[in-house]
Point group: C2
Chain length 147, copies 2
């Protein structure tokens, strides 16, 4: 089985560079469409298909991550060093959680399973500050609001 990842004959195109630049610059986790609309302003005839194709290539090259939190669409992230995420179950905002990555976890699972573990992804769910405050004000009887 040969994966695209092994290909290394990628060209340097303006479009791809702009997409990567944007992802590095902004510290949020944009969707493909957001990236498209943002770049479209300067790059008048950019197409959404190109954005998607390049996001896939950048992912294959290991320069970005694709994050899927079950919201129905992907988000992309250029912070390729390991970090974790928090999603507010109410406002859906995504925060980076800067716990030092737990390499020991991988080792634990390697021992248990014998599999080769390459990485892990850890996502916390709950209520962010703003929503927590709103909640206690407006609706004191609601206790559980997990996704």
């Amino acid at each position: 089985m040969i994966t695209n990842k092994e290909k290394d004959t990628y060209r340097n195109t303006k479009q791809r560079q702009k997409i990567l630049d944007l992802l590095i610059k902004c510290d949020s986790h944009p969707t493909a469409d957001w990236i498209y609309r943002k770049l479209k302003k300067k790059f008048r005839n950019l197409s959404l298909g190109t954005v998607y194709r390049n996001l896939r290539i950048l992912k294959e090259k290991g320069q970005i991550w694709e994050l899927d939190f079950g919201t129905g669409f992907s988000r992309f992230d250029a912070m390729v060093h390991s970090h974790y995420h928090f999603i507010c179950s109410t406002c859906q905002k995504i925060y980076d959680i800067k716990i030092p990555p737990m390499k020991g976890l991988d080792d634990k699972v390697i021992q248990m399973t014998g599999f080769r573990i390459l990485s892990h992804r850890l996502v916390f769910f709950g209520l962010c500050d703003v929503c927590k405050l709103k909640k206690t004000k407006n609706n004191k009887n609601v206790i559980n609001h997990a996704t």
Copy 2:
């Protein structure tokens, strides 16, 4: 903000019961379509829309989980007690990882952020036994194969 979760006037229908039974019985993580095709055999005029609607309701009632691993479609799981997952980056098979759930993690993030943390989800990526073996046999020069 009122969520569907607060609703408790659900009826007991044959369809919903069958879907839950199936999810409890099978220890894999089926897709909506798999559930539909499985139940369709006995339940001749079951519709896919009904399966989706009931999966959403069961999720709202907290009886099942919806798992989204970025494969483009959701998987469902009736093991509602906390557990973790492993996905083989090559064959895409999903395994349950039976590490005791780390409640301490939530507390750590609560301290860091002040957010209310309700749960977390931990997914490991790598190569399962079978694919690991195939890989070392067929393609010794390929080192990295992370998703």
